[in-house]
Symmetry: C2
Subunit: 430 residues, 2 copies
């Protein structure tokens, strides 16, 4: 549905165009914000503006309403550009990969586009220019479900370059679908990072009133600059309203809801930190401190590693066929890490061909323990590596990374059982 005659006239008389900053007076109350496109589902009398808080507000205009043009979109963009070039704050790098977070609304057409340039990011989140000097480039722009190990390698190298070039932190806006996989991949590939690498996503695009992209982006810059933390993290809303964001360890985070803004959870450990809407930082778990060392990434990956979730009656043929052209296997077993008796035999055969099998749990919560029941003990005898409390997805990426460097079975087992990037919690944490 398009605008009513009344709304159209109000817009025409002010000469305001979408993207401009306007002041709208409705029923005696004034609201300032960016004029947004008319939404097809909105009432014809409703004009939508994006408030300074990042929220979109729809206002139903009547005969007493007044609309004033405050500033043109172009002026804001120019101011943003000056901010990018001119300030002497710490430099933070933004590496675009695609996804909802990186999208911004083209105020002329209403379409959602990737926000690729630093100026576009500043125009979307003006406060960024008060926190850091921004550097940005687009590594690629894809839906995150199309990510591959090769994309992780490209991204890891790009992140390393930024850190080695002195960035105070690197922010990677990323699609949420596979954000947890990428954060695990970067954790292993980058090794000891001297400053924070922050994967950040949004569950709702910035044209929606409930978008979380504004607060997540702003918080990620605040965290990079203000927290003395040097690891690979993921940052997303901490609960469903706009009260705080959580910073999660890159190897322990998982998307646990399709649509909630607080979809991401740390599994088997607490989040690393909580950051309030005004930047109040609360560290919940010890992190590595910042340093000035260089990063030496090791991006070697064996991409032919499979992840299979077990279910009752699962045909052993599946494992046999999949392992014809895979070099390692992560099983997400039931409970403490179990599969059917038949499957134990097939896993034994896989291992005897020199292909490692790591057992994780589809429960996600808790630790694999192959010492409690007969099935577990049989799995251990067969040579299955118990995946401790690693997420199945993290174990998958770790095995890709380990197999990228060695195929020696005892060495692979030792590596998989050694905590490298906080992917294995100490027992007392559980």
């Amino acid at each position: 549905m398009s605008y009513s005659e009344r709304a159209r006239q109000l817009l025409a008389s002010s000469q305001a165009r979408e993207g401009d900053t306007v002041r709208l007076k409705v029923r005696g109350k004034e609201h300032e914000g960016i004029l947004m496109p008319h939404h097809e589902f909105s009432h014809p009398d409703v004009i939508v503006i994006k408030l300074k808080s990042g929220y979109n507000m729809g206002l139903k205009v009547d005969e007493g309403s007044e609309l004033t043009l405050e500033s043109r979109a172009q002026e804001r963009t120019k101011k943003a550009k000056d901010a990018v070039n001119g300030n002497d704050l710490p430099t933070v790098s933004f590496l675009g990969t695609g996804g909802t977070i990186a999208s911004y609304v083209d105020y002329r057409t209403g379409a959602v586009h990737p926000a690729l340039k630093a100026e576009e990011l500043v125009a979307t989140v003006p406060e960024l220019s008060e926190i850091c000097r921004m550097r940005s480039h687009v590594v690629f722009s894809i839906f995150s479900e199309n990510m591959t190990p090769q994309n992780w390698q490209t991204l890891a190298s790009a992140v390393a370059d930024e850190l080695n070039d002195g960035a105070e932190g690197v922010i990677v806006p990323h699609g949420t679908d596979t954000l947890g996989f990428t954060s695990a991949a970067l954790s292993f590939m980058l090794g000891d990072v001297p400053r924070s690498v922050l994967l950040v996503g949004a569950q709702r695009s910035s044209d929606r009133p409930s978008s979380d992209s504004y607060i997540n982006l702003l918080s990620s810059a605040r965290f990079c600059v203000n927290a003395n933390a040097a690891e690979v993290f993921a940052l997303m809303h901490g609960e469903s309203s706009d009260s705080y964001v959580h910073i999660h360890r890159g190897t322990k985070v998982r998307k646990m809801h399709t649509s909630r803004r607080d979809a991401f959870q740390s599994v088997n450990c607490a989040p690393v930190a909580r950051l309030g809407m005004q930047g109040e930082l609360e560290i919940l778990s010890e992190c590595k401190p910042k340093s000035r060392t260089k990063v030496v990434p090791d991006t070697r990956m064996e991409k032919d590693v499979a992840l299979l979730y077990f279910y009752p009656g699962m045909s052993t043929e599946i494992v046999k066929k999949v392992m014809e052209d895979h070099k390692g296997l992560i099983m997400a077993g039931t409970g403490l890490g179990h599969v059917s008796r038949d499957m134990v035999h097939v896993l034994k055969d896989v291992i005897s061909e020199g292909k490692p099998v790591v057992m994780t749990s589809q429960c996600l919560g808790g630790r694999v323990n192959l010492n409690v029941y007969d099935t577990g003990r049989d799995l251990l005898s067969a040579g299955v590596i118990p995946g401790e409390d690693m997420l199945p997805e993290t174990a998958l990426i770790k095995l890709m990374w380990v197999l990228g460097r060695t195929q020696d079975m005892p060495e692979v087992e030792k590596e998989m059982l050694t905590d490298r990037r906080a992917e294995i919690s100490r027992r007392r944490d559980l």
Copy 2:
């Protein structure tokens, strides 16, 4: 480590044997309970008794300790047998399947055995005889990871027989590993049940002080008799201490932790009820009321349905190979229900061969929505059925059940999108 000389003499002088009810006085305080076997990790001076609460208590004896024999294990068993045969309370059927819950300690050897007979259950949980008249038989006794669709069929028929024979409820002690799969299978196969069918598990066997089998079994009998509810449910601890149990819908429950006693959670809906330790019943969600109708189970299942979790870089060969000998596929995609672009094409080919593909989300929480992003729309065009907010595991079992009755693609789609056993929540619940 075995008993100390002091503990041994105390036991010898009282003539108490393991399994007997004893009274033990230590440091001026008296404790009554069942004499348990000495645990190899216990201090040599420690004597363990199982209290009436179901908890095991280890007491370190000293020179002032006294031990009195109260009653022999045999007397308790006889009393239990009388209870089973003699009372006129409602009849509850216990159908054994194996698993930790059904285990009890042989007090002579200390070994954990399945508790198969009603008398053994009453001896383990004496209060059962005050709640119901018990009928029991062992359908099978296996580790639940070895369950197959055929076991579900056998069990469904056995449950139907018990209900049709007038049982006020049927309790199925079951291993926790695949309890959620079985509860979903029974939900679909049994259709409208006239009284409750309650799957019940234990995370810790009854020889452990922290065992949850006592309270879970007792609560399941209380629920069958006292709640006006007629569905297939799963009952487990509701939180980590012994304050209440939760009753979950059979199609919405998932084991979410490897070891916690409150490992089971209702996903995408609230639990049906909460039951306090003294039997205080709180209904949290409307259930179907009891009736006296007969059950007509439909146990037809197409067992060749596969479940695959997607991950970045997943080879499309996996799907191609798996679908050579499977007749349907559940994908657990990322986020709202996505897979890579390559995979969309392969799924389209699978569907064109007359094999249905249902998309669920590996997030577990939330609902699949294939209308938001391009990838989702491409999946819909390819003919993929959006699995709403069904758990991947529940969708697997539902598709097995649907394909057991029809292979007509539009019919399969219609059935998968129709809520049959509360497996699909209404939108406003999320």
